[in-house]
Symmetry: C2
Subunit: 226 residues, 2 copies
């Protein structure tokens, strides 16, 4: 059985759709972010805090992936932005075709920020480009500061590491500097922000990072159009 | 492209090797346990606590899986039982062939307990039988009590749920009863034990569960032999 060519074919099919999605997002000035993490690191909480902090008129939408349940979409719909659940029914990651399919009936010209919450998995989502401008990896301090070395691929491919649940730092053996150094051994340009979605610590810095990326995307959009 | 038959072929290859491993373990009276969880839930800590609690003469060995690093094996080797690291180099789960290969030069007749620590991933390891007598799912309270509903397959296939890091319960929104009820909605026979590998709470109950399973395996072994 020839295994490698098949894998290449599957990957290139995903990559082709991701490239098309990326082109569509850039054309319309949409910043697309792909949030990845272990189960229970706080992706949904970070999105809740984000949606709660922006005015209702903002052009934001969310796609949220899970193996089962629509719980995350239910949590996120409270903020009155468009939210769709992608239930993968067993698949351990989102892929570009799922994104394409779930965007089919959404008017993209009414958006400038698309937030994608991936399935909780620190391994497989690293291999599937969704057409995003950047991956953001969320790491809970309860998981341990060694995780970037043990799951290098996802840290290599993420622009930003959000160290979440810092309110738990007094109670867990986790050193933020060690985590950041470990992440930068894999990915020297890794940015990082420490937050607590429970206490609110660090959220200003996160929102400011997000705003900078949105501004940059708008500049890029104008450049493309002119 | 016919996708289902190929997947069936891959799965049945794994299942065939897993069946052979299971037969070898049963023949020799070896209890094999497969520990699964999200990254950072505390599988290695639970194994450390377990190895620290048993006398040196016990016939125990450990296989520990990770994408990268030999950190877990280094941590576990301190207890002077045979330990081997399986570094998958990107693969998101252990499979039966990896187990078979890493057991090849180990004298199985000197063992009666084989502990396998899977790659940290709450999705993919559910699909790969390693020939174990039981899967044990470790869930850290920092991950949230909704996880059994969101990752049902791994909870369905595990005999025991170890709720770990209960020392963090005062600081996180996690209700143990809700977690257990959610797990039992998926798997009504699910046993559970609450532990803290940091404070030591609940470890007696875990060690007693383990001893019961070892005793049962010995009885089964004698029955097979007679």
């Amino acid at each position: 059985m020839e295994r490698v060519p098949l894998q290449q074919k599957v990957l290139s099919e995903n990559d082709r759709i991701a490239m098309e999605l990326r082109a569509r997002f850039q054309e319309r000035g949409i910043l697309c972010l792909n949030f990845v993490s272990s189960p229970g690191s706080g992706k949904t909480s970070l999105l809740e805090r984000t949606l709660a902090s922006v005015p209702n008129g903002e052009r934001i939408a969310v796609l949220t992936g899970d193996i089962q349940t629509e719980n995350d979409a239910t949590r996120l719909q409270r903020f009155h932005f468009p939210v769709k659940q992608i239930t993968t029914g067993g698949t351990c990651h989102l892929d570009a075709r799922m994104i394409e399919r779930h965007l089919a009936d959404w008017p993209l010209n009414r958006l400038d920020l698309l937030l994608i919450e991936n399935v909780g998995n620190l391994v497989c989502p690293a291999s599937y480009d969704l057409g995003e401008a950047a991956k953001i990896v969320v790491l809970s301090v309860a998981e341990g500061d060694d995780k970037p070395l043990k799951y290098p691929s996802i840290f290599l491919k993420s622009d930003l590491m959000v160290v979440n649940k810092v309110d738990l730092l007094p109670y867990v053996p986790f050193d933020v500097n060690t985590a950041v150094n470990n992440a930068r051994r894999i990915h020297p340009q890794m940015e990082f922000i420490r937050v607590s979605c429970l206490s609110g610590e660090g959220l200003d810095e996160w929102l400011s990072w997000l705003q900078k990326r949105r501004n940059a995307q708008k500049l890029l959009h104008h450049e493309t159009v002119c």
